[in-house]
């Protein structure tokens, strides 16, 4: 018996050894494409000898890894397809489309040095400010078109697009459009109001709380009234903790959803046959709430040239107009309006951007996070 145990132990150890050596050898093999280090340090297309040289280097890499870009989010489906059409030599791998900004950072850290690591990020501000050491500085050709306070001076990150927090509702169920967040407290909304996840987890859900705060006497610096509003909504039986998706909207399971305008619009008639024709989007009058997402390049991008080409592509007027068509306001919008490159028909349907809207600074977001951590679960569970 004892002998048997020793042999079993040996078998175990042997197994571990075999497996671990297997791991280490495969991870060194995985680092693969060591393109040219020049692209990895280029801070502009000019550094590489102009756009043609960048396209050539990117084509030589032949691949691009993007992460957490859902096809129905801000038109990313069309944007990705457009890139593959424009640069047929580069194949895009889109990982974890429904993940969060934190997932992007986790993937970059755990896949570091491997050919499957993400090349580019699309990050919310709170996660971004914690992880600037992961980012490579780069300035796109039309860098000057991005307003100064929309970008990092060194080029590590730059705003890409923002929506406005909006209320989407099924007009076959809710007959009159809501005109303030307080409207949601009426009995007409019983078991109907949903947000996009847990505010202590998802930026979009947290923004619904911020919107409620702005509508009920709070401010960007004090979002407590927003938490209290949802507590009230929950106690009235109006708040539901179902995660809304295009499917739950189409089936009528979640007839009212507070989320970014570009997502509400994409789920309505703008979504074509997949959309719900009764789905209407309201940006409430009064102070609007936005939150720009940030573009950034992974410092350890396995395809550094393709990553840079992707950024160049995103800031071309054609893609900025695609953001706009989804209802999101692109970062270079005002420069495009001046230059006349904006798709004016689209702008008319989406509506002019409000002259000013509230956007939480990273300090405000941090103090909001503290309040949410302390109070959210108590308010809705």
């Amino acid at each position: 018996m004892k002998r048997n145990r020793i042999v079993a132990g040996l078998a175990f150890t042997a197994a571990v050894a075999v497996v671990l050596t297997g791991c280490s050898s495969s991870s060194t093999a995985g680092s693969g494409s060591t393109a040219d280090t020049k692209a990895a340090t280029a801070t502009s297309a000019a550094d590489l000898g102009g756009m043609d040289a960048l396209v050539k280097a990117a084509n030589a890499e032949g691949k691009l890894n993007v992460i957490t870009l859902p096809p129905s989010w801000a038109n990313y489906g069309k944007i990705i397809a457009g890139f593959e059409k424009k640069y047929p030599g580069i194949k895009i791998t889109s990982a974890n489309p429904n993940g969060s900004s934190a997932d992007e950072v986790a993937a970059a850290k755990s896949l570091k040095g491997q050919s499957t690591a993400p090349d580019v990020f699309d990050l919310g501000t709170a996660v971004l400010s914690q992880n600037t050491d992961l980012l490579a500085p780069y300035k796109v050709s039309n860098w000057a078109d991005i307003p100064t306070d929309f970008k990092d001076a060194s080029g590590k990150w730059f705003y890409d697009y923002t929506g406005l927090m909006s209320i989407g509702y099924d007009s076959s169920v809710i007959k009159t459009a809501p005109t303030s967040v307080s409207d949601l407290l009426s009995s007409e909304y019983k078991n109907k109001v949903a947000i996009k996840g847990d505010p202590t987890q998802a930026n979009e859900a947290a923004s619904a709380v911020y919107l409620a705060a702005l509508g009920t006497g709070g401010s960007a610096s004090n979002i407590q009234p927003g938490i209290d509003f949802f507590k009230d909504l929950k106690s009235k039986g109006n708040f539901i903790s179902t995660l809304p998706t295009q499917a739950t909207v189409n089936s009528g399971e979640t007839p009212v959803v507070i989320q970014w305008s570009y997502n509400n619009l994409a789920w309505g008639s703008a979504g074509g046959s997949a959309g719900n024709p009764n789905w209407k989007t309201v940006v409430l009058p009064g102070t609007a709430l936005g939150s720009y997402y940030n573009q950034a390049i992974n410092k350890d991008a396995p395809h550094p040239a393709a990553a840079r080409l992707w950024e160049e592509y995103l800031y071309t007027p054609e893609v900025q107009n695609l953001y706009l068509a989804s209802g999101a306001y692109p970062a270079t919008l005002s420069a495009m309006q001046k230059a006349g490159t904006v798709d004016s028909a689209t702008l008319k349907t989406v509506g002019e951007p409000p002259s000013d809207f509230v956007q939480l600074t990273s300090d405000q977001a941090a103090s909001a996070a503290k309040l949410l951590t302390a109070g959210w679960a108590k308010a809705v569970n």
Binding site: M1, R3, N4, I6, V7, A8, L10, A11, F12, A14, A15, V16, V18, V19, N98, G99, S100, S101, A102, D103, A106, G124, A126, V127, Q130, N191, A194, I195, K196, G197, D198, P199, T200, Q201, A202, N203, A205, A206, G237, I240, S241, T242, L243, S251, G252, E253, A365, A368, A369, L372, T373, W376, A377, K378, V380, N381
Partner: protein, 316 residues
């Protein structure tokens, strides 16, 4: 977005664990007298050992160990404070309430099914059919199960709508029936019942007809037989199954994740800590929560093996 939790399937016991434990014990005692030469047959164990180490031991150690470091990689006990956080205490409470209620409900219903099945022929069509159905349904969890319940008793579920139009009865009149922590008991019980049938049926089958005959000879009624003989004999196996069902529910993730977006149970809280994009720098707290779950699981599984040993006494 969510994957089927691996622990869901890990806690599911193999078919007839009770009788195999008994058989194993017998085999060991028969062999222990003889000295056997170590053979290469042990090498056959290597792939499984590798699997266990790689996919169970190492991840478990890493997950728990991560709870003892700060985001910058410095060793700390500070994360343990999370276990006092009211939100997290509430999540543990939620997990306990859901797991205990669904385990007890599943165990009682499952035991009744087993009792009813005893009256059928052991090799008959009905027994075989229910047996295979139980094997399949015990694995029917995750997103699919959540969807099935949404389509049945969700806000637009067909049962919900039918009750509303036919009887004017609103299932969700007092808040959402399905999309709440207590509401999880409904889908959980769904996969607990067949699991109970799988784990408890062998114990039921182990009841020897001769005991009943002996009792009858001595003048006992059927009621006496069940309350004085069968139930005490079955008790360890029954409670063992309850523990197993508890562990199964406690570690379930995907069904809950598909129904609840606001947390409320521990696995969802762990996900929140790991992937949050609003509250940053708390991912190491997830390790502490994993430690908490692990402690609960070790206690439950320890109690389970004790009960199994008692249960096995009657089946030699």
């Amino acid at each position: 977005m969510t994957t089927h939790s691996t622990t869901d399937s890990l806690t599911r016991a193999p078919r007839s664990s009770v009788s195999s434990a008994a058989a194993g014990a017998g085999a060991t005692s028969a062999r222990s007298g003889r000295r056997r030469r170590p053979s290469v047959a042990w090498l056959g164990f290597t792939p499984f050992a590798a699997y266990v180490v790689l996919f169970l031991a190492i991840p478990a150690v890493i997950a728990v160990a991560s709870g003892f470091f700060t985001a910058d990689g410095v060793f700390t006990f500070a994360n343990l404070k999370a276990l006092q956080d009211p939100t997290i205490v509430k999540a543990f409470q939620g997990s306990f309430v859901v797991s205990i209620s669904s385990a007890l409900l599943g165990a009682v219903i499952g035991a009744l099914v087993c009792f009813a099945l005893l009256g059928t022929r052991a090799d008959g069509l009905l027994r075989t059919a229910i047996d295979s159905a139980a094997s399949v349904l015990a694995q029917f969890g995750g997103i699919m199960l959540a969807f099935a319940f949404i389509a049945t008793i969700g806000f637009q579920g067909f049962v919900t709508l039918w009750l509303k139009t036919t009887f004017g009865l609103d299932l969700n009149a007092n808040g959402a029936l399905l999309y709440s922590v207590p509401g999880l008991v409904i889908p959980y019980t769904y996969f607990e019942v067949p699991l109970m049938v799988l784990t408890f049926m062998p114990a039921m089958e182990g009841l020897k007809a001769t005991w009943g005959e002996a009792a009858a000879t001595l003048g006992a009624t059927r009621f006496h037989y069940w309350t004085r003989i069968a139930m005490p004999v079955l008790a360890p196996a029954f409670w063992g199954s309850v523990l197993l069902l508890f562990a199964n529910a406690f570690s379930s993730f995907a069904t809950a994740a598909a129904l609840l977006s606001q947390g409320g149970i521990v696995p969802l809280t762990i996900k929140q800590q790991l992937t949050s994009e609003t509250v940053v720098g708390v991912s190491n707290t997830a390790g502490v929560l994993a430690l908490g779950m692990l402690v609960v699981m070790v206690v439950v599984m320890g109690a389970y093996s004790l009960l199994q040993r008692r249960a096995a006494r009657w089946q030699r």
